[in-house]
Symmetry: C2
Subunit: 340 residues, 2 copies
DNA sequence: TTGTACGCGTTATCAA
DNA sequence: TTGATAACGCGTACAA
């Protein structure tokens, strides 16, 4: 529809062969400077734009990168993509962005869409439902370069970008205990995913160190739906042995905790202290301001982009090494965990 | 690299001509049911995936839609894309997503990238810097279907999705006045863009109706950078004739206002009432909870997607009508504009 | 009902 | 230094 002039037509205008024009445009050493100049000028004049699909077909290369993430409404993912885009755009790469909405079936469908070469690589943070990973294995076995970030899939041998989940959860929990919490709770989206495990381990380690016994009901698996989560947390908070502190492993659970506390007229931090993994800019403007563990999302995206570009823009690059790249998170103490 | 089997290879496996296989896969009436079944089965077995670029080249159709927006860290845009994706994905379309970061030069570069047919349509919300619109005109003149949402470009004759900016700004301002504001201020990112103008008109209309004279310094053009905005608003709030209310035309200016008030130890809503266009889920959890005008972002994305799919999935569709589709926003009063 | 031949717009190989 | 030709994978007009 909106196609412009083709290489052939451009060549006709110049009384040259298409192959000559192609070489001139690609600055081949075989072409005389005079011809190059003439071609470039005419291409400019006629606003010639190479057809990306002809090129992709010929070169077996899409110049596109697929990003698959569990949700869009989350500052972490938005920042990550900003960082990624800041690197890839300068290399002429386009971003195909997909959200799984934490749904494994949707994730499988999307992954399937990428089996045909539409993207040169996949960058992914898996859904909280992702227990079966056959679709990811297939993607990797097909030879499509794949990177993970945040919610990684350890069974696939490739590079994964994460934060120091264990360490920072440990510190956050220790902070809760220092602020007087005797019965902190850990809120998670799913037990299956990587970050949950690590963050939970850090939580449990701090408890153990402080001699606090782990009560099963204080390690709560929540759901996808917000109102459901609010209900679940309300029940937790009004149970016989309610928690006096919360470490939320993802942002949305901190928000649900605030809502639940509000509904039950519990005061944060007096009745309940809350700290959460979160990249919200406005954590400091909440009522009360929220103590957070914030990940270096933009930098993570940049690093991911750099590794990717290194592989895609040079010939004969090795596969991504099977390693964990750990970027440290930042703990910011605010009112929600202060002693009154 | 990650390419699977081709149509030709699939045909060879079946002892059939590629054209026969192609027709079978496309469910052509010319092919016998028996052959179709055989082909489908083998395609399944060998996990055949058609090459999207060969197809795009042949059909002059990318099956991709470009979305250009000013920023990612904004719930409105995230929700909009969620809504859009919910429609387009079922039709086999992919989303290429770009952020201009409110930078006109970046916007031009991105638009230029789309001149070659990489996307079948463009959905756009222009940057606050976009005064020169030659790049958008060229896109439209090339015949590429283009839709605008939120920040529209009135000079391009196509369909634009907006909210009732004038009306709802008028109501929000009236609300401020009813709550006792004598000198409300209007904060905007740029005077040039469509929504700013409409929202400002509504603001001024309410002022006029209430017999409040317009003071130039209370109609403030802000910047891109957050810390700069905080400074600008601090200056405004500590000027000789400071405002006692703020209508922020975009979310980030409400956040900057909260920060400025905090820094100056002004109490919201006692010293200053604040209301803002915003799609934050957690407006109700801010300190104090923020009165908002929220746009139906997801629905806007859906409607946009439906119109787009109607055009792209059927032959010989007319151009998008040059009209404004107005979806109403919702005014939610919270603590930030309450009388104490 | 199926097969043959061609072209979409590029780039690479080979010949001139 | 330039030109002719083939090929990437697919869909379709035409032939069988």
């Amino acid at each position: 529809m909106a196609s412009g002039i083709s290489l052939k037509e451009l060549a006709a205008q110049l009384n040259l062969a298409p192959s000559t024009v192609s070489r001139a445009l690609n600055d081949s050493y075989e072409i005389s400077d005079k011809t190059k100049e003439k071609v470039l000028k005419m291409a400019e004049k006629l606003n010639y734009q190479p057809n990306p699909f002809a090129r992709s077909l010929r070169e077996n290369k899409s110049n596109a990168i697929a990003v698959i993430m569990p949700e869009r409404i989350n500052a972490f993912f938005a920042h990550f993509i900003d960082g990624l885009e800041s690197i890839t755009q300068d290399h002429g790469y386009h971003l195909l962005v997909y959200s799984t909405h934490e749904d494994l079936e949707k994730e499988k469908k999307i992954v399937n869409l990428l089996l045909n070469g539409r993207a040169d690589a996949v960058i992914m943070s898996v859904s909280s439902q992702t227990s079966d990973i056959s679709h990811l294995k297939m993607l990797h076995e097909r030879g499509l370069p794949i990177l993970f970030f945040d919610r990684v899939c350890s069974e696939i041998p490739t590079t994964k970008y994460i934060t120091n989940d264990y360490q920072v959860s440990y510190e956050a929990t220790k902070h809760l205990i220092q602020q007087g919490c005797k019965k902190p709770a850990f809120l998670m989206l799913s037990e299956g995913i990587s970050i949950t495990k690590e963050r939970h381990r850090g939580f449990l380690a701090a408890l153990k160190e402080a001699g606090i016994s782990t009560e099963p009901h204080l390690n709560k698996v929540c759901f996808q739906d917000e109102s459901e989560n609010v209900k679940v947390i309300e029940e937790l908070l009004s149970s016989e042995a309610p928690p006096d502190g919360i470490l939320a492993s993802v942002e949305k659970l901190a928000i649900a905790s605030y809502m639940a506390a509000k509904n039950l007229e519990l005061k944060i931090p007096k009745d309940l202290k809350v700290i959460s993994f979160s990249n919200m800019r406005i954590a400091g403007l909440l009522n009360p301001s929220l103590s957070t563990i914030s990940q270096p999302a933009f930098e993570m995206g940049e690093e991911c982009g750099r590794l990717l570009m290194k592989k895609l823009t040079r010939p004969k690059q090795p596969d991504f090494p099977d390693e964990l790249v750990v970027l440290p998170s930042k703990l910011t103490i605010r009112a929600s965990t202060m002693v009154e």
